[in-house]
């Protein structure tokens, strides 16, 4: 047991009280990183050794000196009796898709490998202002485009701390791996289709996709601007609530950041689920995907263990007084991925326009004769496979002659997905749900390289998480059990707009009630 096995909440309490110094906590984090992380991701990585394959590789950029200065500043304040924030001394890792002034901000892409941001993202700035100690940047899929973190230009890519032959999920795989391995107590991730919740499920940690607009996107290098949500990754529900409270709220730099007051999430955390109406939907107990040969949509039931974890959670909540509402229809769930494929790629292609070799980042080193050749070579050499695929797809479906057929249609599907949730949560409707309970992912963490390369199949890892992004509603994934393969299973709560309190209350109730269950005692492989 080290300082990194304690919760962020307790750590901040102790640092504030002067029982622990922030520097001590930081040293403990750096020690853990030194033991489990292995070499950081880089562009020139060479062959992977057996030792590499046994490490986590969460980080791209570790900024230990900057972190020490922050920790010393927190300690100095505590000693001087000055107020420190709610995250005082808590080691934090930041997905390398956020800008931090003076730090490389790579988006895990060659095209931004040399880019150092001149400004700090709002979410990071608020977390640091709350006293969090920023350890540095963690790895992800290139520009967040993926569900395994393998597409990073910075290799070795992160590995699952529960089994390093498996992916941590993605795209916030560095974030969830760093928290699961106890390298950081909190991590800042982003969720565009499930990029926080899916890797949280794979790594056995808590991940929250807040309501769209709950957390400012300023400084988040955009993927799908209408879908992107910064959110917390934490070891437990309380820490996630603590972290969200510290970074949520309106921002003059982001007009899509909602001007909705931020409640005290900790204050309501222990209120339990008595009387809460929690729904189960058959549409979340299967996945629907196109057959690789015929293109026909095929339905497949989820593995029994995955379904069982969700039903177990429902039973626990029912025992605690929640009313479980079964058979809630969510009829458009199956169309979430196809619609997402179109919308996110149109936005992504446009968002990637700015990486043109003119202003910052990578510019081709080979000869060019005119501007267009410079653009072509820069983008051909700077972008990896995923950005290129997404540009092609995005350009295609937004072209004048196809936009109505694809983009406009996808937007209509998006509205239908939203209407599923509106009907389920309608206080005057048939179901009156406070939250929907679902599995987070269709499977546990897959083997490295098993799915990578099949962009379509990879995308279906997000089928149960993407509806919340379309609808803009908040979702939370937390550990719900351990499968027979020894890997964590995640369960997900979904709630109406700005009802994060409901998610935290339900999550906390389940977490507390299952604290004594056997699977809770199992540790990730790298910590055994």
């Amino acid at each position: 047991m080290t300082l990194m096995d304690q919760s962020a909440f307790i750590t901040a309490q102790k640092v504030k009280a002067g029982e622990r110094s922030a520097v001590e906590v930081l040293e403990s984090a750096l020690e853990r990183i030194a033991v489990v992380d292995g070499r950081p991701g880089s562009l020139d990585y060479g062959e992977l050794t057996d030792e590499d394959k046994a490490k986590v590789h969460a980080f791209i950029t570790l900024t230990a000196d900057r972190a020490r200065q922050q920790a010393e500043a927190v300690d100095a304040k505590v000693r001087a009796g000055e107020a420190v924030g709610p995250l005082a001394g808590v080691p934090l890792s930041v997905k390398d898709i956020f800008t931090v002034k003076g730090m490389p901000s790579t988006a895990a892409s060659r095209i931004l490998a040399t880019f150092t941001a001149p400004y700090t993202a709002t979410a990071v700035q608020r977390l640091e202002a709350a006293g969090a100690i920023n350890l540095g940047k963690v790895n992800l899929d290139e520009f967040t485009y993926g569900s395994s973190s393998e597409s990073s230009a910075f290799q070795p890519s992160p590995r699952n701390p529960w089994d390093t032959s498996r992916v941590p999920g993605g795209s916030s795989g560095g974030s969830t791996a760093s928290v699961a391995a106890g390298e950081a107590l909190l991590s800042l991730g982003t969720d565009t289709a499930g990029s926080i919740r899916q890797p949280a499920a794979f790594c056995g940690v808590v991940g929250v996709k807040p309501t769209y607009g709950r957390v400012s996107r300023y400084g988040l290098i955009a993927f799908g601007s209408s879908l992107d949500c910064p959110g917390p990754v934490a070891a437990n529900v309380r820490d996630a609530a603590l972290m969200l409270g510290a970074m949520a709220g309106a921002d003059p730099h982001d007009s899509t950041a909602a001007k909705v007051p931020v409640p005290d999430y900790l204050a309501s955390l222990e209120q339990g689920v008595q009387g809460m109406r929690i729904g189960l939907s058959p549409d979340y107990m299967k996945i629907t995907f196109p057959d690789a040969e015929t293109g026909e949509l095929v339905e497949q039931d989820l593995p029994e263990e995955i379904k069982a974890a969700t039903l177990h959670a429902a039973e626990v909540l029912a025992r605690l007084g929640a009313e479980i509402v079964e058979d809630v229809p969510m009829p458009h769930t199956a169309y979430g991925i196809p619609a997402y494929f179109v919308i996110s790629r149109v936005e992504a292609a446009s968002n990637l326009h700015r990486y043109d070799g003119v202003k910052y980042g990578y510019r081709t080193q080979s000869d060019y004769h005119d501007l267009n050749e410079m653009y072509r070579k820069t983008r051909a050499e700077g972008f990896g496979l995923q950005p290129k695929l997404r540009i092609l797809m995005g350009m295609y479906v937004s072209a004048a002659q196809y936009a109505e057929q694809y983009y406009a249609r996808a937007l209509r599907v998006r509205s239908l997905l939203r209407s599923d949730f509106d009907a389920a949560f309608d206080p005057a409707g048939a179901y009156k749900l406070d939250a929907l309970l679902t599995p987070t992912t269709p499977t546990t963490a897959f083997k490295m390289a098993d799915v990578y390369g099949d962009s379509v199949l990879m995308q279906y890892a997000d089928q149960l998480t993407v509806p919340a992004n379309h609808a803009g509603i908040p979702g939370l994934s937390l550990p719900g059990g351990i499968a027979s393969d020894g890997l964590p299973i995640g369960v997900q709560f979904l709630a109406p707009d700005f009802a994060e309190e409901t998610l935290f209350r339900a999550g906390q109730a389940f977490e507390t009630a299952t604290a004594a269950e056997a699977w809770r005692k199992i540790k990730p492989e790298v910590l055994r």
């Binding site: 956020f98 300023y218 400084g219 007009s255 149109v346 446009s350 003119v358």
Partner: protein, 480 residues
Amino acid sequence: MTEYEVIIGLETHIQLNTTTKIFCACKADSWEDEPNTNICPVCTGLPGVLPVLNEAAVEKGALLAAAMHSEIRLTSFFDRKNYFYPDLPKGYQISQFDLALGKGGYLDLPMPDGSVRRVNIEKMHLEEDAGKTKYEHGVRYVDFNRCGVPLVEMVTGPDLRSADEAAQYLIRLRQLLRWIGISEANMEKGHLRCDANVSIRTVGSTVLNTKTEIKNVNSIEAVRAAILKEVERQIEVVESGGRVEAWTLDWDDAKGKLTKMRSKETEADYRYFREPDLLPLELTEAWREGVIASLPELPLARRARFRREFDLPEYDADILTSDRPISDYYEAAVSAYGGDPKVVSNWIMNEVLRMQNDLGVSADELVLKPQDLAEAIRLVEAGMINNATAKSLLVKVQESGKSPVRIVEEEGLAQVSDDSALQAAIDKILAANPDEVASYRGGKEGLFGWFMGQVMRETRGKADPKASRELLQKALRGEG
């Protein structure tokens, strides 16, 4: 010989005179500033930045929409116009597309024959400007200062029928923009930019033939000259059996030449889609009514009122509504004077406009206030000073800031109509010029004017001309 009708539509970009840019807090006006000095992460499109809409740009855009009789949409949207160019740091321009701030509208142009040409507005939207590039010694330089400067793009229908009408549209638009105070509208500084779409057809036809687009016409004279040149070219093409092609042409003002930039057979696909980083622009009915209510009386309306209310000739009414300060100046002077408005018009058109031009200021910046002008005119009418004195008096008011009456008192400028003083001066002149007196008396009566000049010189211009003439005539006849 076939007669041709010219069909012109103008696409204008109007730079709004906001303090800051449309999506960030950088200074909007970078005239004569060093390159890349008014920039920030937002307007240079760094990774992760987001636009935040400047409300002042919306207000000014809405004011223009109201002045153009456009409908101000209560809900409009921003869209991304995607294309690559080094001066466009995000690789897309934030603009408005199908549901823009303004819908429809028109500008009525008074024609020399007294008729009115109604020019319809087909598109009016807010957008951000791009930067500038220049090519020098084999290196391409980019200046992002202009990135994010707020623009209104306004496109007319194919409603103009000659180069003169196109010029007239720009003159009236420029007047309107300055009048409502939303743009400096200086074409040389790029505050008002214009592209012209030109086609021809035989008189009597109603089809719209293939048009060409002339870019880079940056003065009203250039618009006129470029259109004339292009019409000439198109007629030549048609007359020689050819077909006008959809070219984009560049106007070289120095050489007075059009050169082909590119063929425009297919429209570029900008893949417009809603800008997800900005919320829909929602305005309230009350806000919209407030904008419309704040609109001042517009120049053409005021011009008509001046003719009606003050009985001014069209020429005077036009000049006295050429800009808002001179127009306000005139009304204030008429009201302070209380007499014939045409008299005030004469004084302003002769004296005040000259003074304004000499000093390079607008009427509201003159030290000489409308009340001063009215006071000076009253002094003339009362016979206190003559016209010549009044003219120099106005200059003295402008230079000193003192009132006309005070200057007349301090400097003793009041006319000398005292007979004995005038008589003394005349006696002195006659005594000093015996030869001229003899000539006059010998029949050279044309010398009378010369004697009057001598009287004015002797009295330093203060002599009452009427009294002087009578006394001089008597003296020359030997009656004095």
